[in-house]
Symmetry: C2
Subunit: 339 residues, 2 copies
DNA sequence: TTGTATGCGTTATCAA
DNA sequence: TTGATAACGCATACAA
């Protein structure tokens, strides 16, 4: 492997000049520059990035902390981050936390050891105080995370209003008994989605029937189980809002087990608009989060931090959208009205 | 940030000793070791990894090249790689090629510049000659890839036999007109799956009806479109083998559009056993690839290469499994038989 | 078992 | 505009 000094010798200049040609070409006379470039080409020289990183104490690498890479929601965000990062000469280091708190803590070591220049945390579980502490020392950005008192830039959607919108949609379709299976309540995001649901019911003068509100954790299984249980009671909803599409599918499959038709006997609205939402039968009415864009935006914010630019705003709520498909019954209703 | 010399001073030893405590503790007397560790603790010293990497010309980082991170198949393999990597002190750098050949080429620069110690390529598109060329210079391993003349370690399943198994299953259920929608035929993997399909038909004395063999590219859309087209003809299969679950779902939805019942009117077998396969209606009979394990194994092989161990075998075919669910009709048949 | 001294390849400072 | 040279922080060969 040729090194800078080899290039310098061949070009008849000093290593300093070679370095300049690479990093600050305008500071070198055209003639010398050409000689150097020619030598670089001839030797097929590649700078030793390890030396450069060491010398400059920067890695051009960012760390992305993912609770679960197999989850398509996170995978899509990572896609957006990766795209924006490589566009700007940054590389993406991936770390799966498997939702283990100690792994989130562990990632701080990476930053301290200067292994990465910054970090994006997807749905972090660390408490705000700790996050603020980290953020005061290193460039970090959060995604699909909300903060009670935002001091760190984060990218999300407005989970309260989106859930409101989803629930309202069901209410407007005439449902009085709208149930909800929540995400884990230690997550602010879940609490927000729960809040939006309750607010909508309240605004439309509907009482909240706590028997129709169950606790789950975003998964298919929890949706299926909670719904099976609910349908085992004599007290049954005509519509359910689920905080994830996976859960919505679990709910629908539970309904099918009980010989209920969806949407005729039970209307369901999900959340995320995963790829399979449109392939499922019935296709899911759901809230679409702009996941890829959220990834891009997170990286943009991190780039600003890395470049020392100031970020005026910490809260970056991207627009979500209610996608109306078949699971809520709106389309069938529409057809009936037009017949 | 305290450095090694700070620790050395505080502990009253030389930097060499501190370095030894960190990297080769057995070479240091217990007493000194304790002094040093105490100093490290007191100063909250973290080694500067950039310096270490530079000095040792290794990064403890590997590159994973992914055709598409949003695809759950790849995401799951990456999960396995990540798990095995972090278990062994390696970090995973992710690079999305978006199936662009130039990005695969570009990744070679990463290796040349010593930015990573090795690379795992998922379903690479580069030709074997180029791959061999890279492999002769750098530690690389391939996953979900097969090679005509294996010179590089790769992890895969036996795509011929698995497809044979899937097709055979349909034939044994009594189907004579078994169709197949292929993946892209420039991929050896697709050709293998096609080969298994043809072999099964041949072995069971069934003629291959080329009208029932269509070309697709693994996607839902291609499955849907090709099946819609096939069902538009007067010449229709009673069973179809699809080389991906997404495609199988597309096929099933196309069948539903044509008022066909699955599996009664059309039996379908997919491939991959994605998470959604069991949630879909009907649940998919499919070939399960041990994706997470394949990721782990790939990393294990790369670790061997990185440690200079010899790899006796280049071909690592992991066992796949035919998962029988509802889309093929075997369960219903079984029920009938027992009634 | 420990310390001394040197170098890894690049970049930044300073002087020319 | 260029060159000489000194770092950057750690690891190792060699000496003690």
């Amino acid at each position: 492997m040729p090194k800078m000094s080899d290039v310098a010798r061949l070009a008849g200049v000093s290593t300093a000049t070679v370095s300049r040609v690479l990093r600050n070409p305008d500071a070198v006379k055209t003639g010398t520059k050409e000689k150097v470039l020619e030598a670089i080409h001839q030797l097929n020289y590649q700078p030793n990035m390890l030396a450069r990183h060491f010398r400059r104490t920067e890695t051009k690498t960012i760390l992305v902390l993912v609770p679960n890479i197999i989850n398509t929601v996170f995978a899509e965000i990572v896609g957006g981050i990766e795209e924006q990062a490589s566009k700007n000469g940054y590389r993406v280091l991936l770390r799966n936390t498997a939702r283990k708190l100690e792994r989130e803590y562990g990632s701080i070591e990476h930053l301290k050891q200067r292994q990465v220049d910054g970090m994006i945390m997807l749905s972090p579980q660390l408490d705000e105080a700790t996050l603020n502490e980290i953020s005061s020392q290193f460039p970090i950005v959060l995604a699909t995370a909300n903060l009670e008192t935002p001091k760190i830039p984060f990218v999300s959607i407005d989970n309260v209003s989106s859930s409101y919108k989803a629930t309202e949609h069901l209410i407007r379709l005439g449902h009085k008994k709208v149930g909800h299976i929540t995400g884990p309540m230690d997550s602010l995001l879940s609490r927000h989605r729960n809040e939006g649901y309750r607010k909508a019911l309240g605004d439309y003068g509907l009482d909240i029937d706590e028997q129709l509100v169950r606790r789950g954790h975003f998964s298919y299984e929890s949706g299926f189980e909670q719904m099976m249980d609910m349908l085992g009671q004599n007290h049954v909803p005509t519509a359910v809002f689920a905080p994830s599409d996976e859960m919505a599918i679990g709910i629908i499959n539970a309904a099918k087990e009980h010989q209920l038709r969806v949407p005729e006997d039970l209307a369901v609205v999900g959340f995320d608009n995963i790829r399979f939402a449109s392939m499922f039968n019935p296709s899911l009415t759901t809230i679409a989060q702009p996941l890829f864009k959220m990834g891009q935006r997170s990286m943009e914010l991190l780039l600003k931090k890395l470049n020392g630019e100031s970020i005026s705003q910490t809260e970056h709520l991207l627009p979500d959208e209610l996608i109306i498909r078949d699971s809520c019954g709106a389309r069938k209703k529409g057809k009936l009205l037009h017949n």
